[in-house]
Amino acid sequence: MTRDETIDRFLENVAAVAAETARVRGRAGVDRMIADLIGGDSVVYCPRLTELERSIALPEDRVTDDYTSASVCVEEVFAGIAETGSLVSTSAGGRAVQGGLVPQHHIALIATDRIVETLDHFFSQWGDGPPTNITLETGPSRTADIELTLTIGVHGPGRLSVIAVEE
């Protein structure tokens, strides 16, 4: 698969699991897109651990450090897996992985060079020393426990937006 095909496959599979997708070239478009996505009254949690996270313009009066009181989490994820359309977050670097779980809306930024083709590519790198937590997130939270009726948004986010950022 070429790089472009891998990115396309990733975004197709992300879209297939009921998440919103966008692909932007350069960081210029990111702020605008996030401003549109978070809307007027949300409380935003952003870990500000990566350069990309730190570069995002957010409405400072509505930013919180406490993910349990946030309605939106904006963060850069560690990797993407094209095969399944999964986003990967890890605890490495002091990230609170659950920060992307608790708020109702998860906006995930992913650098396109962090997208790998298959699950094998991703899982063969850890050997005996993975970080404390590796979480794959594929689409929003869901259940079909009542009469098998699919319901989106149970304990995790009901809305997942994925922005692939090409440097």
Binding site: S91, F123, S141, H155
Partner: protein
């Protein structure tokens, strides 16, 4: 033979279940949907190759289980987890309770775990004054209703939206609704408070990874992630055979487990947890305990039924089984229902108690065909039926008299059904089962049966 053990009364249970038209409709809907989704999802991957690979990995682990366990324990401990081994259910319950007591925990949030059902953990903790909150929606529903799970993947499969609506209105004092989305929201709001205030989370694990000492959890709702990351204390309870060698083996099981269970290519969430929170971490419980339950598995793994322990609890054999599809999970009167449940129940709970379940199979072979790790289910069922006779347990039919046999046999080809099974269920099954399933029922002749007739 221990005459003091009362055998499970599968026949009366089943007879009652087939009278319940609501249950039958719900079961039909669920098992049909899952079976169809599984078939669809399976068509997107090189299924046979994957099954072969998964079966090989599981066999390799079971062939060397104690060294894999030792490796896991060493690696998990190195990562800071505290690993415990419990020989039986009582030891497992006590271990878990003493950890909770040490931490003065009065409430735990729980993510779905079949082995915790196997060891009857909830009742024990509740009797000892600890509040246990099940957080998987299906488990939450049946906990509110004080019932048992009826399916290993969708535990409340036997309840329809009106029943859930009435249950929530009564127990949670909310307005009656029969909209699954609204009911889900009510549960979500109630449970969010529990998550944020619980000092301990208990979860199962789908796999334990020997090389890295990690536990792996597949969930869709996000409750598993909440239980394992929000409380200070996390206790994982799992049975000893859940080991895979390394994280590099995980993709094979990711490709098979959700596809076989719900027809998804992957669950919404998959967590790989390696030890508790470490210096500099902001994720993970401060203390992680891993409790391995044996409950006779060490001896099963050394014997002729070892292959049963390859099972990864996907539920596909339940959905494929014409008996399960007709009667549902409760009638088995055991933790694990369906074809895999019959075998596990006999192996874990003993022939004296579980032998009537051996009537709950038509030996049609459908379970073996769908199993993602190639557990030779029909073969194991056949061998256990032979063993039942050798051990002197009488199949129900012989107690009921020969008339029933005549009735089953006269239905042409039907004598290949388990005989008491045929007597109780056939007239109903004929009406209930779709022609496709019906068509395959008599296919493989039941050797042990014919041998005995001659």
């Amino acid at each position: 033979m221990t005459p003091t053990v009362a055998p499970i009364d599968f026949r009366s249970n089943a007879a009652a279940a087939v009278q319940d038209s609501l249950l039958r409709a719900a079961l039909r809907n669920a098992t049909d949907t899952f079976a169809a989704k599984r078939a669809q999802a399976a068509a997107c991957v090189p299924l046979e190759e994957l099954r072969e690979a998964a079966s090989g990995i599981r066999s390799e682990v079971l062939g060397n289980l104690s060294s894999y366990l030792d490796r896991f324990i060493e690696r998990a401990s190195r990562a800071g987890a505290q690993v415990h081994r419990a020989a039986d259910s009582a030891a497992a319950r006590e271990t878990i309770f003493s950890i909770l007591k040490q931490h003065r925990v009065d409430k735990v949030v729980k993510a779905k775990s079949m082995v915790s059902e196997e060891i009857h953990l909830n009742d024990y903790l509740i009797a000892n004054g600890i509040r246990v909150v099940e957080t998987d929606l299906g488990e939450y529903i049946i906990q509110l209703a004080s019932e048992q799970p009826s399916h290993i993947i969708v535990p409340a499969i036997h309840k329809d939206r009106r029943q859930v609506g009435r249950l929530f209105a009564e127990k949670l004092s909310c307005e009656y609704s029969e909209d699954p989305a609204q009911l889900t929201k009510v549960a979500q709001q109630t449970l969010r408070r529990e998550f944020l205030s619980a000092a301990a989370g208990i979860s199962g694990a789908n796999f334990a990874v020997a090389e890295s000492g990690s536990v792996v959890l597949f969930t869709n709702e996000g409750n598993g992630r909440m239980c394992t990351t929000l409380p200070r204390l996390h206790i994982v309870v799992l049975s000893i055979e859940k080991i895979i060698p390394s994280l590099a083996d995980l993709p094979t099981f990711i490709r098979l487990l959700p596809r076989s269970a719900t027809g998804q290519a992957i669950t919404s969430y998959l967590s790989v947890i390696t030890g508790p929170r470490k210096l500099g971490d902001r994720t993970g419980a401060e203390e992680l305990h891993i409790v391995f339950v044996d409950n006779g598995r060490s001896s099963i793994v050394a014997g002729e039924y070892r292959d049963m322990l390859k099972c990864i609890r996907c539920g596909a054999c339940l959905n494929a089984c014409p008996v399960y599809r007709t009667v549902g999970g409760h009638v088995y009167g055991a933790t694990y229902p369906g074809p895999m449940g019959i075998i596990l129940s006999v192996l874990l709970e003993g022939m004296a108690k579980a032998h009537p379940l051996l009537d709950a199979t038509t030996l049609c072979g459908a379970c073996g065909e769908v199993c993602p790790v190639k557990v030779p289910l029909p073969d194991l069922l056949r061998r256990l039926r032979e063993r039942r006779v050798e051990e002197g347990f009488t199949p129900a039919i012989e107690r009921a008299g020969i008339a029933a046999f005549g009735r089953a046999a006269s239905l042409g080809g039907l004598f290949t059904l388990g005989r008491s099974m045929a007597r109780v269920l056939w007239p109903l099954m004929e009406k209930l089962i779709d022609p496709q399933t019906l068509g395959r029922l008599p296919k493989p002749a039941e050797r042990s049966f014919q041998r005995r007739v001659r």
